[in-house]
């Protein structure tokens, strides 16, 4: 493990221990500076990332869990059939402002369908969804236009909200920077790598400042650093009072979410 990998693992440990985003960033930057100026193997200088992160938590503490606000998304009794096959049976989920919910389950258990029903893109056979505030949706794939530049995507989404071109571009670039991506280049979406394209996809969904953000496996193609940045961004949005629903199959992230809906067992209601 080289210094960069150690720093990434360290940052992930800090996030998992709920160290405030800005404080974690500051500590990681200090560690990086120390390593750059002093040299040496981070394992010898600081020790294993989990141990050093635990020591930092002892020293600076963690952020208190955000107090959930009013209900932003309430899906109840969602049932969906494709032909004779029932993919969702009486699934329910309640997410409040300042919460992250994870929708988990095996392949084909209806995670994406559930999210599309919550977004109002697919009709269920039974059940209702109530949404309070503006809705943002990041599809698993295909939410971008091959022959447009990232800036043009921002302008297109911004125009939907009546945002002028300049501010839309600036907002898009700023949101992209939170994911560790500089979106200012003249590269068509089709020439972006899979991970960068997914960052564009994600940036578009947060651009309209939604109150409820629905993300369908938003990390596909991400490297470790981008993955950490994504959770940074999600936690920041949660702390700003957004309600976030993430479809995920990466179970190791579940300790960083507030609500879990496991569709494998098709149990009604979310587990808090």
């Amino acid at each position: 493990m080289n210094a960069d990998e150690w720093l990434r693992a360290f940052a992930a440990e800090l996030h998992q221990r709920r160290v405030a985003v800005d404080a974690a960033r500051h500590v990681v930057a200090e560690a990086a500076t120390h390593l750059r100026e002093g040299g040496g193997d981070p394992w010898l200088v600081f020790g294993p990332p989990p141990s050093y992160a635990a020591a930092i938590v002892e020293s600076i503490g963690t952020t208190p869990g955000p107090r959930p606000g009013p209900v932003r998304l309430h899906a109840r009794g969602i049932t969906k059939r494709y032909g004779r096959r029932t993919v969702l049976r009486d699934a329910s989920l309640t997410v409040r402002a300042g919460q992250i919910a994870a929708v988990v389950g095996a392949n084909g258990c209806g995670k994406s369908t559930f999210l599309r029903i919550c977004a109002g893109l697919v009709s269920p056979d039974a059940g209702e969804v109530s949404v309070s505030g503006r809705l943002g949706y990041c599809p698993q794939q295909g939410g971008t236009a091959d022959f447009l530049l990232p800036d043009e995507h921002f302008v297109l989404v911004g125009a939907g909200q009546g945002v002028a071109r300049g501010p839309a571009r600036r907002a898009g670039r700023a949101a992209a920077r939170h994911l560790g991506w500089d979106a200012e280049g003249d590269v068509l979406a089709r020439h972006l790598s899979g991970g960068t394209r997914q960052k564009l996809n994600l940036t578009m969904s947060t651009l309209a400042e939604p109150d409820v953000l629905l993300l369908d496996e938003p990390y596909q193609g991400f490297d470790q650093g981008s993955y950490v940045n994504l959770w940074d961004q999600l936690i920041r949005l949660r702390d700003e009072g957004r309600a976030i629903v993430v479809v995920t199959h990466l179970l190791n992230q579940l300790d960083r979410v507030d609500v879990v809906l496991d569709l494998t067992t098709a149990q009604p209601g979310g587990r808090s």
């Binding site: 109002g120 009709s123 209702e128 989404v157 939907g160 578009m204 109150d211």
Partner: protein, 230 residues
């Protein structure tokens, strides 16, 4: 209005960057025209008009298919269905006009004794009908191959049917053929009137049908209730 213009602009930007597509858009009518150039002048003009219709319809079909994935999220981002289909149609009309201009000049420099205004109107009819026609096929058939085959069938039918038959009047591009006859053969004004009326009716009918399909596809679902922010 800004939303509509933005969608039109992005449609044009996307198509303008597909240089291969642009080349083929120009090549298709040119080949049609060249093949018929040695025969009666009317044949070459009619083939040219059909080539323009086919080229613009195909561009509309592919633009609609390509936008299928991004449209639902644009709907969530604040666009209404009419912003999306009218904006795209507007962009395709502008593209169609840009494609038609060099061919109009070609007829002006290559052929004498034509009613050039009639040729221009026939081309306008081609473009006006082709954009909603290609969009409708793209909206109804999600896969491009099926859409292309249907388009091919309609254009082949248009080419093979006797224009005087009643069945020909049911084909989408009959108007340009009628106006083309008026412009090339100096027939009576009935040809122009019938052609204009047919072009107008078909364009309106196709646009209304496209509006209906988009309104259904991008409708607000009944199960989703928006409650006020608290």
């Amino acid at each position: 209005m800004n939303r509509l213009v933005t969608v039109a602009e992005m449609t044009l930007r996307e198509l303008a960057r597909r240089r291969g597509v642009l080349l083929l858009l120009l090549l298709m009518p040119l080949v049609f025209w060249l093949i018929r150039r040695d025969s009666h002048v009317g044949q070459s003009i009619r083939a040219l008009l059909l080539g323009i219709s086919w080229a613009v319809s195909t561009a509309a079909l592919f633009a609609t298919s390509a936008a299928r994935e991004i449209e639902p999220r644009l709907r969530l981002a604040g666009y209404r269905p009419h912003h999306l289909y009218l904006g795209r149609m507007l962009g395709l009309w502008v593209l169609g006009l840009a494609v038609s201009v060099p061919f109009f000049l070609l007829t002006v420099f290559d052929t004498t004794n034509l009613r050039y205004a009639g040729i221009a109107v026939a081309m306008l009819c081609c473009v006006a009908v082709a954009a909603p026609f290609g969009m409708l096929i793209g909206a109804l058939l999600p896969r491009e191959l099926e859409g292309t085959l249907l388009l091919l069938t309609v254009v082949a039918m248009q080419m093979l049917l006797d224009p005087a038959s009643s069945g020909a009047k049911l084909t989408p591009f009959w108007s340009s053929r009628e106006i083309g006859t008026w412009a090339v053969d100096h027939t009576d004004d009935g040809y122009l009137t019938r052609g204009l009326l047919h072009g107008l009716v078909v364009t309106v009918l196709l646009t209304v049908t496209v509006a209906g399909v988009f309104a259904v596809r991008l409708r607000r679902r009944r199960h989703l209730h928006h409650v006020p922010l608290t």
